[in-house]
Point group: C2
Chain length 388, copies 2
């Protein structure tokens, strides 16, 4: 499963000592070929961590041989030294892999980091850790790699889709910046399909736009978000682009849903469906505004079908709608009709973890789904105390 | 003090029975002249409560004789019946005041409401309450009026500035939508200066832009926000516009600071100073982004000088800045210099209620101050449970 479900990849996950508690904290994923095509999407935050800047550069030629990932430190806001550390990490991976018989340059190695912002990584532990990880590389190492990138994730997250002779698999950690400062969504996807960098990029961008980009657990954007897709071509099959893109989307959707389900401090997963919007952009804007309304997030935590807070969130957007035509359902009960009181709110059953908020803009035919979490005292506790 | 500090105004605050706990819930403010000039600013939420729609209409001619305010119900998202109720309330005020000897039309009466969204007001209690309030109108009624508009405010809020022969005073309740669904900022300001509607409007808009508009307690915009300024002309003095505007700004500033200081569930008042911005708009955009970052709000609650969360919030804006030139101080300690680690974070003392976050964009000479609160478990509890 995970990043080694597809043929042509090895992986490892080890404890390098970056985390003081001794948990696994270093993962290595290697594409053994025959192809090396790759694509990536990164945080749109203008304050980018050193590994994000590095990985964007090495991906410019559409090829990657390896990805090294660490938890236990984000290497963000760490100045020139932080960038040198990322570079040194990639050099070390290249050196060790070259020593194993494949000639690899640092420019073929992406780096991803997650953890506290503003702290330099312990390179005296990380670099020896790269040697240990390389020695443990295995076609069965995907699970261990997924475990090593966890921060406050309670479970590791993997997904796989197998099609006719080819496979897309992957691993993920985190959810937006919901995890307490230990931040960040890191995702590595692999496939043995023979797809070039352009095809990978198109598939990855269309998939992330509809999946990871629509997870809005706590409205906070990380400095380190990284999603990579590597193709080995080992299956010797080139699928139709549409079919390939759909498989990538399915894996991303599965992983995104797992991120929301494990969001720290959360007691509810909120599926926000915006329907009958004039445009998809309108639907996304309204969905995000609802997703980020702290009062609504508190109400859902309290199992209170407070549709007034949905309307007040919609009202802050620029989307096309008339206030007196808005309809809102919570778990299928239309508690707001035509901008006013609808069905009896006592009919709404909110006992289960998943809560569906449907906002009908009555302005067109477009729609979008945004996933969010509730706001809980646990979220406050975990995010107010982690660094002390 | 309050709305009766200026000459030419009477006020009252009574318990009409709108609130089930029997607390005061109805306030009446009357301009006894000789002038009737008035101005108002209202929520920019596109989902507007009935009293907001009404009051915007009656203010179109720049005159008001009275303002009737109720707590215990927002009369928002209540459809045509809600608007009829607002209209009937204004009619009742006009009728009762006319019975006292001054001919008043409903079109001279503004209405403001605060409380739960989506619930009709109990008109059988509200209308008799108007009669009771009118009977108690007094030149000393300002405090009682300020008390009657409280929802979950722990204290009533008033302010006054007295200049050479004229006065500006006022009352306020709430803070954004921070109070648990009981929502909303309502403010009535009065002056005995002789200023026409145009002068009032200019003074009020410039004042609110720099005061109430820069309070961002919880990022949630109400459907009911209303700020009114009424001038009686009873002092017989027409001050210079600049001097008058400055007095209005001072009163608004005082009230805005009181709102933040009483924000529900909050344990910290956060003064966010954005300096050296390329434009004031940039400074405000950055200030709001910092003010709305839940992770930072949690960190400040935990007295954790987590500057990485400030940088990640700045990075989501479109403001002009270079990431490696950003500086951040918390309570005067420059914990981030040039986008990286600065002074020792252990030097930051965050024991007191007021916390100052200074963000230096190093991109110009403009600045802005935004006030926010921390995010606490109390906020979650109060906002997840109020309607159950």
């Amino acid at each position: 499963m995970s990043v080694t479900a597809a043929k042509g990849f090895t992986a490892a996950g080890i404890a390098a000592g970056i985390k003081s508690n001794g948990n696994p904290d270093l993962a290595l994923v290697v594409n053994t070929g025959p192809r090396r095509a790759a694509a990536g999407v990164f945080t749109s935050n203008r304050v980018k961590a050193a590994p994000v800047v590095w990985s964007q550069q090495v991906l410019a030629d559409g090829e990657l041989t390896a990805v090294v990932l660490n938890s236990g430190g984000a290497n963000a806001c760490t100045g020139p030294k932080g960038f040198q550390d990322t570079h040194a990490t990639a050099e070390k991976v290249a050196e060790v892999l070259s020593g194993q018989g494949t000639e690899v340059g640092a420019g073929e190695v992406a780096v991803a980091s997650t953890g506290l912002i503003g702290v330099l990584l312990p390179m005296d532990k990380l670099l020896p850790g790269v040697e240990t990880a390389a020695a443990e590389l295995s076609e069965h190492g995907g699970e261990k790699a997924a475990i090593a990138i966890k921060t406050t994730d309670t479970v590791h997250k993997t997904a796989v889709v197998t099609k006719d002779g080819w496979t897309v698999g992957g691993m993920a950690k985190g959810a937006g910046m919901l995890a307490p400062g230990l931040a960040t969504m890191l995702v590595v996807l692999t496939t043995d399909a023979d797809v070039d960098a352009k095809g990978l990029d198109a598939a990855l961008r269309s998939a992330t736009r509809l999946t990871f980009d629509r997870v809005d657990s706590d409205g906070c954007m990380s400095t380190n978000d990284t999603v990579l897709l590597l193709a080995s071509g080992a299956a010797g099959v080139t699928p139709e682009q549409d079919e390939f893109a759909e498989a990538v989307r399915a894996v991303c959707d599965d992983l995104a849903r797992q991120l929301i389900g494990d969001a720290e401090g959360a007691s509810k997963d909120i599926r926000i469906e915006v329907i009958n919007a004039a445009s998809e952009d309108d639907a996304v804007e309204v969905g995000r505004s609802i997703a980020r309304n702290n009062l609504l997030k508190c109400a859902i935590h309290g199992e209170d079908p407070n549709w007034g807070r949905v309307l007040s969130a919609i009202g802050t957007t620029q989307a096309a709608f008339e206030p007196d035509r808005l309809n809102v359902a919570i778990n299928g009960v239309w508690v707001c009709r035509n901008g006013s009181v609808g069905e009896d709110r006592d009919l709404v059953d909110m006992r289960y973890r998943e809560v569906v908020v449907t906002a009908d803009l009555a302005a067109g035919t477009e729609s979008a789904v945004i996933w969010a979490n509730d706001l809980t005292a646990d979220y406050v506790h975990e995010n107010s105390a982690y660094s002390s």
